[in-house]
């Protein structure tokens, strides 16, 4: 398949594409095998009574999630979302319009859970849950990156991500899971990170990194692991430990900690910020993955928890950790579970904090100094990662998640330009690889889904000579370095915000 993948042509002006029905029909991503499925407590393969179980699961989810219930009822088919999805723009498959993606499930909801759908299915677009429908779910609920762009434009705030998550959870519950996501979640449960990198290997890697940094800068920047009593616990995506360009941002975090004399540590038991439990919409998996962070924080006795550059991880950390693990503030006094941890944390700081919040706070307090010229070879633009933009916040006012990373970039570099405002801030386009789709068996989709971002990147490359695409997400980094060559860009154009910090920070100066 990969041999035939080509990037779609840029639209001359970004017009709304015509429909190409069926263009992305197919088997969808690889299906999880029995071992992977059973490791998460899901049925190993498609169960015999999948129909009844799927409907029962749907009923259960409708009772547990107000979002799903309200979103199933309220859509009026106005079409506000219909041209907003990057996968629709890139593939032109009408089933990738957010409303149509929702309708794959809504049609079944109407058939089994509403009176008109039971009485007049044709009239209201209701249909039976057949094997074809189930296969369609597997295919098209893995063509959504849960980026929430559609929810910005929906007059009722309908978030297709919630529907996709419910779809995936139903599929998992009948034994029809996705290999990539579920395999990774299994690794986290077993070893503590998405890569399956065991503690000793992690320590080796970090020691090697210390040597590299020493060689490059002459300074002993440490990357400590499992230090009890450290002030800061850094939870970062495990890709930061070895992948390019991720590792350059990890060096950046280390230098910020070093420059300010912050005592910090990583955890070998909880060495992963990513939480694919969100991608599959399963609360128990989401919670189980997140609880490792709670455990590490309690065992190491840290005062602060800081999260590295990762989009969905920051959404989980910012929006869900307090709920799932108690990492946060404002629990009731009789809430023993949360208070146990909240008593330990230092509430002069936001818990958790994003590494960009951490760095920007130090910059504002004048604790860091930079040699901006060190980044003069870069003409930088910033890609807002979807989960940070639309599912979280930084700082103490709405929209801080847009300003803080940009402020950092402008502090450490001289050349910064914005991309088309219709594609930044809360209107940002997903990189095309988020939401648990960052797998080679979906490469065709990933290339096509990157189209809207690549189009506007091309504009700033042509107009301003941009040669550095700064991001704060591990998935964006991997996805862009993989798909950019299809569009004729150098894969080394992409890098993290803390990579720029790392280039410019003056160590030992203060």
């Amino acid at each position: 398949m990969s041999a035939t993948i080509t990037a779609p042509a840029y639209r001359v002006i970004p017009i709304i594409p015509t429909l190409k029905p069926g263009s992305m029909e197919g088997p969808g991503p690889f299906v999880a095998n029995e071992k992977i499925q059973e490791g998460l407590g899901f049925p190993g393969k498609l169960v015999d009574d999948w129909h009844d179980q799927a409907i029962a699961k749907m009923g259960e989810l409708l009772g547990k999630y107000r979002s799903l219930k309200v979103f199933m009822d309220t859509c009026v088919h106005c079409g506000a979302c219909s041209d907003k999805c990057h996968y629709f723009i890139g593939t032109q498959d009408p089933k990738n319009m957010p409303v149509a993606r929702q309708d794959l499930m809504r049609s079944v909801y109407r058939r089994y859970f509403t009176l008109p759908g039971k009485l007049f299915p044709k009239l209201v677009g209701a249909r039976d849950l057949t094997r074809e429908v189930l296969d369609e779910w597997h295919n098209y609920y893995h063509q959504c990156s849960e980026c929430r762009r559609c929810s910005v434009f929906c007059p009722y705030g309908i978030d297709t991500a919630e529907v996709t998550m419910a779809g995936r959870e139903i599929l998992d519950s009948v034994g029809y899971g996705q290999k990539y996501d579920n395999e990774i979640i299994g690794k986290v449960h077993k070893i503590g990170n998405n890569l399956g990198l065991p503690g000793p290997a992690l320590k080796d890697t970090l020691e090697g990194l210390e040597e590299d940094v020493k060689e490059a800068t002459g300074i002993d920047v440490k990357f400590p692991v499992d230090v009890k009593g450290a002030e800061v616990l850094l939870i970062t995506p495990s890709a930061d430990f070895f992948a390019e360009p991720h590792i350059d941002s990890l060096i950046g975090y280390g230098k910020v900690f070093h420059a300010t004399g912050t005592s910090w540590t990583l955890s070998s038991m909880s060495s992963e910020a990513a939480n694919f439990g969100m991608f599959i919409g399963n609360y128990e998996q989401l919670r189980k993955v997140a609880l490792r962070i709670r455990q590490a924080a309690l065992e190491l006795g840290v005062k602060r928890i800081v999260v590295g550059e990762c989009g969905h991880a920051w959404r989980v950390a910012y929006s869900f950790w307090n709920t799932l693990t108690g990492v946060g503030d404002g629990a009731d006094q009789d809430d023993k579970f949360a208070m146990m941890l909240q008593k330990q944390l230092d509430h002069r700081y936001k818990q958790p904090s994003h590494i960009c919040e951490f760095t920007w706070d130090l910059i504002e307090r004048g604790a860091l100094s930079f040699d901006k010229e060190a980044n003069d070879k870069h003409i930088i633009t910033f890609h807002d990662s979807c989960n940070v933009a639309r599912g979280s916040r930084m700082g103490d006012y709405p929209g801080g998640q847009f300003d803080i990373p940009r402020n950092i970039i402008k502090t450490v570099a001289n050349h910064f330009v914005e991309m088309d405002p219709g594609t930044t801030h809360e209107r940002t386009f997903c990189c095309g690889g988020g939401g648990g789709l960052l797998t080679d068996d979906l490469m065709d989709l990933r290339v096509k889904g990157a189209l809207p971002r690549m189009e506007v990147l091309q504009q700033v490359v042509d107009q301003h000579g941009v040669n550095f695409l700064a991001v704060i997400c591990a998935i964006c980094k991997t996805q862009f370095s993989k798909v950019m060559p299809y569009y004729g860009f150098d894969r080394n154009m992409v890098g993290g915000v803390h990579q720029l910090v790392s280039n410019a920070i003056k160590l030992g100066a203060k």
């Binding site: 709304i16 015509t18 429909l19 409708l62 009772g63 547990k64 999630y65 107000r66 009822d73 309220t74 859509c75 009026v76 088919h77 106005c78 079409g79 506000a80 979302c81 219909s82 009408p94 319009m97 149509a100 309708d103 009176l115 008109p116 009239l123 209201v124 677009g125 929430r148 910005v152 434009f153 007059p155 009722y156 705030g157 978030d159 609360y283 919670r287 609880l291 455990q295 929006s319 869900f320 307090n322 709920t323 108690g326 946060g328 503030d329 404002g330 629990a331 009731d332 579970f337 949360a338 146990m340 936001k350 818990q351 958790p352 639309r390 599912g391 916040r393 006012y397 847009f402 809360e426």
Partner: protein, 247 residues
């Protein structure tokens, strides 16, 4: 005879509208929202959430961001409908409230703009490929319903007047369980029948978008997850193991 049938129809329709909608709202209220999922940037305070919701309800803020044509047609239709509904209060109150008297002409002409709005929305549904693709027969019928209601109302206002005093008598009679005669007028029958249909399908159709908006977690939640622990009943039960540490 027709009067009796319409009386029964309207009692039934009112019952369905009220009971059905209250039931739906009670389901939405009872269903927990276990996670904080406001679409950000979102207001940090409850007051901010109220403002965001008002902007959605009165200005269709998100739709404005999405598509100006849909917004214009949709807003015109809904604002006109609101004026028309308020105008109709005169048929249910005696004496008629002053502000209802004052806004009669606005409400009457709003019938025309309402028709324009429906026509524009329908045109979009027919001529825009993407919208045509997602439309079900019921989507078209819903617009047809509004169109018939608006047109029959406009005919009675501007072309073939009906005995509105008698209609009002009938409506007040319904409210006081005192049966009065309904004028015999085909256009009036069509108008009333379609309104009754609209009332009956409200709680079982996409018309639920009206109450639904207020329950949409992506719009009605404050963005404060780090400052206040948010936990739902069923999620709290998972914490029965006191430390909740996975081992």
């Amino acid at each position: 005879m027709t009067g009796i049938l319409f009386a029964i129809l309207f009692y039934f329709a009112t019952l369905m509208l009220v009971v059905g909608t209250l039931y739906r709202i009670s389901v939405y209220t009872r269903t927990p929202a276990p996670l904080k999922i406001p679409t950000t940037p979102a207001p940090i305070t409850t007051g901010g959430v109220v403002m965001r919701m008002m902007r959605e309800v009165f200005l269709f803020e998100s739709l404005f961001k999405a598509n100006l044509w849909t917004w214009a047609a949709g807003w015109l239709f809904h604002a006109s409908l609101a004026l028309v509904l308020l105008r109709h209060l005169r048929y249910f109150t005696e004496p008629v409230w002053h502000w209802v008297v004052f806004m009669q002409p606005f409400g009457t002409y709003a019938g025309i703009t309402m028709l324009l709005g429906v026509a524009a929305l329908w045109a979009r549904r027919i001529f825009v490929e993407r919208i045509r693709y997602i439309s079900t027969p019921s989507d078209h019928l819903m617009l047809a319903l509004f169109m018939v209601i608006a047109m029959s109302g406009l005919v009675m206002s501007f072309v073939e007047h009906t005995d509105v005093v008698a209609v009002k008598g009938f409506m007040l009679g319904l409210m006081n369980f005192d049966r009065q005669k309904l004028p015999s007028n085909f256009v009036l029958y069509v108008h009333l029948f379609m309104v009754a249909v609209l009332m009956m399908i409200f709680p079982v159709s996409k018309l639920l978008h009206a109450p639904g908006l207020f329950f949409s977690p992506s719009r009605n939640q404050a963005d404060n997850p780090r400052d206040k622990r948010h936990i739902s009943g069923w999620a709290k039960q998972l914490e029965s193991n006191e430390t909740g540490v996975a081992r």
